[in-house]
């Protein structure tokens, strides 16, 4: 039945006639081995660079204070140093340091270059405090005192720091509570009102504004609105109460330049006296920062805080993409390899698929935008979400459209890998199945597919690796700078496939090229890159484990 050629016979080994260097293959061993070594060196070098920079970013640095000969004082973390030639007549090579001085709301600068030549004195003040805030970036200063509800309860650095440590946890918990109330409670109330409004609008679109149905719906809407208003007021009261409680705790600080600053404890995310920390203390700060980075939400236009929405978005998108691409890819490959008669058309299809793999990814992005978002999405909106127009629901970039676009992008990988796997199943097995009376589909299902499964999984792994690292098409079909709402959450219908999402790859681009405080963002680029690589590695590991389990299953089923 099948016109597949039988297995190739072993090629007769060529007789060695002359003993030359080339014939023995020594230079070729060196050449190929050298090629491998260069490739390995490049990969290891790149990984090492990302790893070293990414790991070191969050480690707390000491905070020196510099006094310049011009009389100014700077305090902050030294970011890097370089040598430069001064513009003086006699050309001299000097050293200078980039110091992160923070306190942006006072100085208007995040960083300052200080030439070593100008430094008169460098000290490490015992009470130099590094403060990470919810807004305005970092603050460097000295604790001066602590006020609780207007009363000064501490007036020395030690006492102030003690009071800070005593109260900061409770204040942070209240801040979290406020957030919780704002996100979940008020969110739910508002959603009820929005649903009522949309229902009203739907009726209005269907029956017009004068119909009795609209009147009824309108009455219902007013009722909801009243209930919501009452609920809203109580929640708001609670929030105001918590805020008022929090605003009683104020840490009094002094900058290195001597300016007094009163900072509410609720603005402080983390503070530490950098020059006093022991190794264990530093490690504590380090891990607490990693914790925030991995599980927190971004703050301050993404330059601070965590990347959890981006991690989540990347994983969900990759999984959705795999769900879309594997079944279609496998089906296409099955037809091509098992059912279709080899001939001109099949060859043409195969060539087209291979060519598809070479199409630049941005072209897929443009296609996705035009076809999925503007055509299919807009049609869905008109049919099902007319009440919220002109605000688009599906007619814009979203995680579903992004996943489908990437599925198209990675389709050739899956098809080619599956075809390879199918052709590796020996024909004798198929023939054995037919001989026992198995039909074509039974043979494919019971004999061919299980044996090809590891190969298909390899295709999936390749597709996932390709898809998770792709950024260019995503920029067009749904990856955005800021989308703290996760595409999967606890609000019905739980999966929000229409939502835009954050993606680690896009986050890296955004940090590197778009952030306002680019100097502070640069180290975060490395950390985020490291995270993306680790994430892709983990996804692949998962698929590899799945594959080896399938393999074991196949081995045990065979005997």
């Amino acid at each position: 039945m099948s016109s597949r050629p039988l297995e190739k016979s072993v090629r007769p080994r060529r007789q060695r006639s002359r003993v030359s260097l080339f014939a023995q293959g020594e230079p070729m061993i060196w050449l190929t081995g050298g090629g491998l070594a260069v490739a390995l060196c490049m990969i290891i070098g790149l990984l090492l660079l990302i790893f070293c920079n990414g790991i070191a970013t969050l480690w707390p640095a000491p905070v020196p204070q510099f006094q310049t000969s011009a009389g100014s004082v700077y305090m902050g973390e030294v970011t890097r140093a370089e040598s430069f030639r001064s513009n003086d007549e006699k050309v001299r090579v000097l050293q200078r340091k980039l110091v992160r001085t923070g306190n942006y709301e006072i100085s208007g600068e995040h960083f300052v270059w200080i030439s070593d030549h100008d430094i008169k004195a460098e000290t490490r003040p015992e009470w130099a405090l590094v403060i990470e805030r919810t807004a305005w970036g970092r603050f460097y200063g000295f604790p001066e005192g602590f006020t609780l509800g207007g009363d000064t309860v501490a007036s020395t650095p030690e006492a102030a720091w003690e009071m800070f440590n005593k109260h900061h946890r409770a204040v942070s918990e209240r801040r979290e509570k406020i957030r919780e109330l704002e996100t979940h409670e008020i969110g739910r109330v508002n959603r009820r009102l929005e649903t009522a409004r949309l229902n009203l609008r739907t009726v209005e679109l269907r029956d017009g504004k004068d119909s009795p149905a609209w009147q009824a719906e309108h009455a219902k809407f007013l009722e909801t609105e009243k209930a919501v208003t009452a609920k809203f007021a109580t929640l708001q009261e609670e929030i105001v109460r918590l805020r008022a409680e929090n605003s009683r705790y104020v840490l009094n600080l002094k900058t290195a330049q001597g300016k007094a600053v009163a900072m509410p404890l609720s603005d402080i995310v983390r503070a530490y006296p950098a020059n006093q920390l022991s190794f264990i203390g530093k490690a504590g700060i380090y891990f607490s920062r990693w914790h925030e980075f991995l599980l927190g939400e971004p703050r301050e236009a993404n330059s601070e805080g965590g990347v959890f929405p981006a991690i989540f978005g990347t994983v969900i998108m990759t999984l959705l993409m795999s769900l879309a691409v594997v079944p279609f890819g496998v089906m296409a490959a099955l037809y091509l390899r098992e059912y279709a008669k080899p001939g001109l058309i099949v060859s043409a299809v195969r060539i087209s698929i291979n060519n598809l793999a070479g199409v630049p990814s941005i072209v897929f992005g443009v296609f996705g935008l035009g076809f999925f978002c503007y055509f299919i999405g807009a049609s869905i909106d008109e049919l099902f979400y007319a009440s919220s127009l002109p605000n688009p629901t599906f007619g814009k970039g979203g995680i579903l459209w992004a996943s489908l676009t990437l599925a198209l992008l990675t389709l050739p990988v899956v098809i080619v890998a599956t075809e390879e796997a199918l052709s590796a199943v020996p024909n004798s097995m198929r023939e054995g199945s037919y001989a026992c009376g198995g039909s074509k589909w039974q043979t494919i299902k019971r004999i061919v597919l299980p044996r090809a499964m590891p190969g298909i999984m390899t295709g999936m792994i390749l597709a996932m690796a390709r898809g998770a690292g792709e950024v260019a098409p995503l920029m067009l079909v749904g990856a955005v700078k800021l989308a703290p709402e996760l595409p999967v959450d606890s609000i019905a219908p739980f999966v929000h496939a229409e939502r835009s999402f954050m993606h680690l790859g896009f986050h890296i681009y955004d940090l590197g090229f778009q952030s306002q405080n680019s100097e502070a963002a640069k180290p975060m680029v490395f950390t985020t890159t490291l995270l993306l690589i680790v994430l892709i590695f983990l996804l692949n590991l998962l698929a590899v484990r799945l594959r080896s389990r399938l393999r074991r299953k196949f081995v045990s089923a065979a005997f």
Binding site: R191, A301, V480, K481, E519
Partner: protein, 325 residues
């Protein structure tokens, strides 16, 4: 004409800028949350305003937790199509809309999009921090960046020596950094600094405002233009004069408000507002937030300059919102 309006209204506001650090106009109201606001805000447009949009979104979300906000900033030219298609609720733009873009909008909706000046930016010309150049006139900037030299400089400027630098700088060629053509900054600079002339082919076009600054920071012979909000310690924004005969003006907030600085501009937000109608609560409140004390503090945080209360009032009224201050 736009520039005349800008300087006229801003001179009135120059009072605010007595201190070194700009303050938000005390006449602006505190934003107070109201109920019944939810839905999705989608901003598509300017890259310069990307971070500012994100800051506004963060602040607005604090007030309205279940409002979803999505910000996309790939260049001002992406805003008009998104507004016309209806994929965006707001179109942030770092330049005014062109007639062609307005026509496209009018063809679909029958009225013009509404323009909201949200903040003030200065387009700064950056050089490497070690570069000793004191100041440049726009004529020189034109001769550096443009191949047509519409502002009439006699010769093409390609080396720092031609700008009067001595020593090792005299022989250093100028390397040019700029934005890509989708950017509003690109369009604004072309119109106002190059007299609508064409950019030289040697301009290295960067994908973002921050990328321009980073490029200039690592290249000793570099010159580039970008918003003042993106300034870092690695670059220096040089004083500019309108022509060879006027005094160079430092890019400071005072000079932006007084209209002295030649490349001061508004950063706009465009909305699809049918004149005479009432905005939906979501857009109304977001606009009110932008023109409140909180929204304008966000502007400061991002390194740009807030608008005075008088402009805020006029802008709110232009979209049918009662200002109340």
């Amino acid at each position: 004409m736009k520039k005349a309006v800008l300087s006229a209204t801003l001179i009135a506001a120059a009072v605010l800028t007595a201190q070194a650090q700009v303050q938000v106009d005390a006449g602006l109201p505190d934003y107070k949350a109201v109920q019944g606001v939810s839905g999705t805000i989608k901003g598509i447009g300017s890259d310069t305003m990307n971070n500012m949009m994100a800051l506004w979104a963060e602040g607005f979300k604090k007030m309205y937790p279940n409002v979803q906000v999505e910000i996309e900033g790939k260049g001002s030219s992406t805003a008009p199509p998104a507004l016309i298609e209806g994929t965006a609720t707001f179109g942030p733009m770092s330049r005014a809309m062109k007639q062609l873009e307005i026509d496209g909008f009018v063809a679909k909706y029958g009225y013009k999009p509404t323009e909201l000046p949200t903040s003030i930016d200065m387009l700064a010309v950056y050089v490497h921090k070690d570069n000793p150049v004191k100041a440049m006139s726009l004529t020189q900037v034109d001769a550096v960046f443009s191949k047509n030299r519409k502002l009439g400089n006699a010769e093409d400027i390609t080396g720092w020596g031609q700008l009067g630098l001595k020593g090792e700088w005299a022989n250093l060629p100028i390397s040019l950094y700029g934005r890509n053509a989708a950017s509003g900054t690109y369009g604004y600079f072309k119109e106002n600094a190059l007299g609508k002339g064409d950019y030289k082919d040697s301009v290295k076009e960067q994908p973002g405002s921050s990328a321009v600054v980073q490029g200039v920071a690592t290249d000793r012979g570099a010159i580039g233009y970008s918003g003042i909000g993106y300034k870092t310690a690695d670059v220096r924004a040089i004083p500019l004069s309108r022509d060879a005969f006027s005094y160079p003006v430092e890019p400071t907030p005072e000079n932006a408000y007084s209209g002295e600085y030649p490349l001061a501009r508004y950063l706009y937000l465009y909305v699809n507002y049918k004149p005479g109608s009432e905005l939906d609560p979501l857009r109304r409140e977001f606009i009110k937030y932008i023109f409140s004390k909180q929204g304008q503090t966000d502007v400061l945080k991002d390194g740009f300059f807030p608008v005075p209360a008088s402009i805020a009032r006029k802008t709110l009224e232009s979209v049918g919102i009662k200002a109340g201050f």
